[in-house]
Subunit: 526 residues, 2 copies
């Protein structure tokens, strides 16, 4: 397989004619060939029209074949071998173990959804049997299932070139739901995107899926993405990125003649509450774990701990000293791209410039281009509560320690933070009472609450929630990681008094697909 | 219990000071006392602040008590007896049997949700057990449940003074989910709303619920409703009404600093496809059933059949004649209010004025004020496909017959219609092949598809879907009727590595609430 710089529109490879987009190695600042041609409005329309044309054919394909298709994509990504790993490394600056780990996660994610598709519980089959003799009125035979929404637009994320991009969680869950996908490459990893896109395109052909089930577009600037979200064929959007970008897509989607849902995972500062008992017992261990989490992947995770809240006093001082030492022992590592690197420099400068914020320590300075230098800042509860800028995400290896005067102030900080992907409690047994005050507050703020862990590292499983109230995401009722992600792309349909000859297979009396069913309000095992 | 013209803010009765709102008897045009005082921005804030204050207390109350609270509301509505029935009749023009039936439905709805609350399956308890020895990385203990979103604003619907208003489906499902409700009375049935509101207020007191769990506001014009949706405490909105009203609320909700979901059920023309075999077999029976459905409740149902599509020819002519005769045998009946009556007059005049639309027949003219005269119109497939105005809902007892030249044109009409609450197929055995072409199209257009029935009459059960793609609703993934309606007001939260002492009850190892649980991807019966 070769990287050609083309887009993939159904079964075709198409060279874009609207401008040139180039991949840059963030570690060296050098261009990586080939050049990519940007797509036009016509290309967007071609991809979306194919997706719309083939939606019915794709959703009608039986679940076993759909599951095998997802597995074929997974195998195709594995088969790309080192060509893919090296391309990701050069386009993202990420080290080999991280890239290989992310590839494993991407493949595992596709397989999880293949398993889900086979089991079919997400169809939510519900049967209310007819009651012809009910008084005063008979009850009709009512059967409901979930069906896919239609073609989904997927935007690649800068920080997960594999797991949240062309073949990532949004694509896997949309395809699992029965929705064709029109993906847009992230401009930072165009070659990676093309390789994964070609693996999907090959799986489409090998599994004899209709070609419109997948397309991959490239765009110079925002025009292609905007046209994609505005296209009448698109029925939902998956996005992971900045708040500004997410909100722009939400506005376009809301302004359409037929508005559509946008599942945008945007920004989060992931507060970590270090409670007094925990600090007394293990200030140094927590500090080390925290700094490891803050600097992991050069701090470029949506779940990076951005603020750390404790109670002032000798234990917190000890914690600060330990965190300083840990930060100082860390080196600058390459950030994903120039834009992210300058935003990080800007954000940390802004923190440093705040009157009541002090810079405690920094890691070793960068030698390469785009090196993100780890930094540790500190402030007090009161200035945090009154400085809106401190609630903005600084994407990169920096965190802000916040010393509160007492429990009340700590609870006030918890109440003050905006919507988050995660919130964390570091606690010891004697902190349980304070934790019981914080948990109900944090439940209303975050999609995931952790105890004695760190929020980086998001398991792909059934119980995972990678979502949260605005501004963390655009829809707090959804998750973009884990099995529940499939629910974003489904809607219920009820079939009333359908004759057997017309009933969709999942709803037939004989339960030919061996599905879990809710019959007259009682769950029944297949 | 007495109607005082006051609002209910928590446990208090408050006389509004911003203007006067009056109930009018649509049958006589006469005012019904007492006068209601309109609420101010301060009143909105007082109700919302109480709801926010008491949200945590309410959601912490155990499920059995929450279920009993819903049952107490149901009993309270029954206990209002004839006082309520007569007030609804005088404020809505609806006849006694319909009002009593709607009361039964409202009470049944509250009881359905009480049962759901007790069973707790909607908590979606999901447990992924820790795998401390997994390589390369251990898996944490991950447990998820659904929690309520927060205070919900509920707007009463004009056409269901009980079932979709102050104590209707939105309120029942929001309270069941654990969300406080701030309702706004529909100006057409202020007294009805106050009575039901007082029954809820009494249930709050009797069941020792925190007072902020329910408030009822009155507003002159739109200011109170707009302030309610804009209030930071409100976390979701339930609305049934016009497309203009729904879209206005959606825009306010999207423009908030923290946007919130709006579940607006707006407009639908509910296409009925009468297939050739069915017409050959029973044109007259279908015509009679259709006209009964069109004129039921003076055509004031969101599911009223607004267009009827058949294939031209002798059987369709026979069907038209029979429908004419049926319409002519119907009388005008009182519409809900003056505004709805004039919109109906305007809408039918507009149809009559379209070049290629003819008025086939009308029922007996109205004697009383606000009488809605049944009307039957006809057009052909081609003008329907090219006249956008014919896709607008005309709310009232009128329908439009559309004669298509052939199957292709019929399928084209199905593809052309916008999002709907329902779509119906009247078919005979020999129509199955044509139906198989139509069903996949209609699945993408409607929330419910019926065979050989009529869409009015919406069962409140587990499999019901009263929703559909835009413009039928603002969120096609939701239903506002039936058990699934609770899902609108819930969001998932994941708890990672929580010690037993902190775990919410539904997630505890011993499963003390006897809930269905998904453990490591396998559903387990309690």
């Amino acid at each position: 397989m070769k990287i050609t710089g083309e887009m993939l529109i159904g079964a075709r490879s198409v060279r874009g004619s609207e401008g040139i987009v180039r991949s840059i190695n963030p570690a060296t600042g050098e261009e990586i060939g080939p050049e990519f041609g940007g797509g036009s409005a016509k290309d967007v329309d071609a991809a979306c029209s194919l997706a719309a044309r083939d939606f019915d054919a794709y959703r009608a394909i039986d679940l076993e074949q759909r599951a095998r298709f997802l597995e074929a994509i997974a195998q195709g990504i594995v088969d790309l071998g080192d060509l893919l790993v090296e391309r990701v490394m050069s386009e993202s600056g990420l080290p080999r173990p991280r890239v290989e780990g992310e590839r494993g996660r991407t493949v595992g994610q596709l397989k999880l959804f293949a398993g889900l598709v086979r089991e079919g519980r997400w169809l939510d089959v519900t049967v209310d049997r007819a009651m012809p003799d009910r008084k005063p009125l008979p009850r009709a035979d009512l059967r409901a299932q979930k069906i896919p929404l239609g073609p989904v637009a997927v935007f690649g994320a800068s920080n997960f070139p594999l797991a949240f991009s062309v073949g990532g969680g949004d694509t896997a869950s949309a395809l699992a739901a029965g929705c064709p996908v029109v993906a847009k490459s992230h401009p930072s990893h165009l070659g990676t995107s093309e390789l994964v896109g070609r693996a999907i395109q090959k799986a489409v052909a090998d599994c004899e899926m209709p070609e419109g089930v997948f397309s991959l577009l490239v765009g110079e600037g925002n025009a292609v993405g905007e046209a994609l979200v505005a296209h009448p064929a698109i029925q939902a959007v998956g996005f992971t990125g900045s708040r500004r970008g997410g909100r722009a897509l939400v506005a376009i989607a809301a302004g359409r003649e037929v508005p559509i849902p946008v599942f945008a995972e945007m920004s989060s500062i992931n507060p970590v509450f270090v409670l007094p008992g925990a600090l007394a017992e293990r200030a140094e261990t927590i500090a080390q774990g925290l700094v490891d989490s803050v600097t992991l992947g050069t701090g470029q995770f949506c779940t990076k701990p951005g603020i750390v809240i404790g109670m002032e006093g000798p234990d917190f001082d000890r914690f600060e000293r330990a965190a300083e030492a840990s930060i100082e022992a860390k080196s600058a590592t390459t950030m994903l791209n120039k834009g992210i690197h300058s935003a990080y420099e800007h954000g940390t400068k802004q923190w440093a410039g705040e009157a009541k914020v002090s810079k405690l320590a920094s890691g070793q300075a960068a030698s390469a281009t785009c090196g993100g230098q780890p930094m540790l800042f500190a402030t007090k509860g009161e200035p945090f509560l009154t400085t809106p800028a401190l609630m903005e995400e600084v994407f990169g290896p920096a965190t802000l320690l916040i010393a509160c005067r007492n429990e009340e102030e700590m609870v006030a900080v918890a109440k003050h933070v905006s919507g988050q992907l995660t919130a964390t409690l570091q606690l010891a047994e004697r902190d349980i009472e304070l934790a019981r005050r914080l948990v109900p507050v944090l439940e209303r703020k975050a999609g995931r609450i952790l105890v004695n862990g760190f929020p980086t590292g998001v398991e792909v499983s059934h119980a995972m929630v990678h979502g949260g109230p605005s501004p963390a995401t655009s829809d707090s009722r959804a998750t973009s990681v884990g099995a529940m992600a499939i629910e974003r792309f489904l809607r219920p349909v009820c079939y009333q008094d359908f004759p057997a000859a017309l009933l969709p297979e999942p709803l037939q009396d004989s339960n030919p697909l061996h599905l879990w069913r809710l019959v007259d309000g009682k769950l029944q095992q297949p």
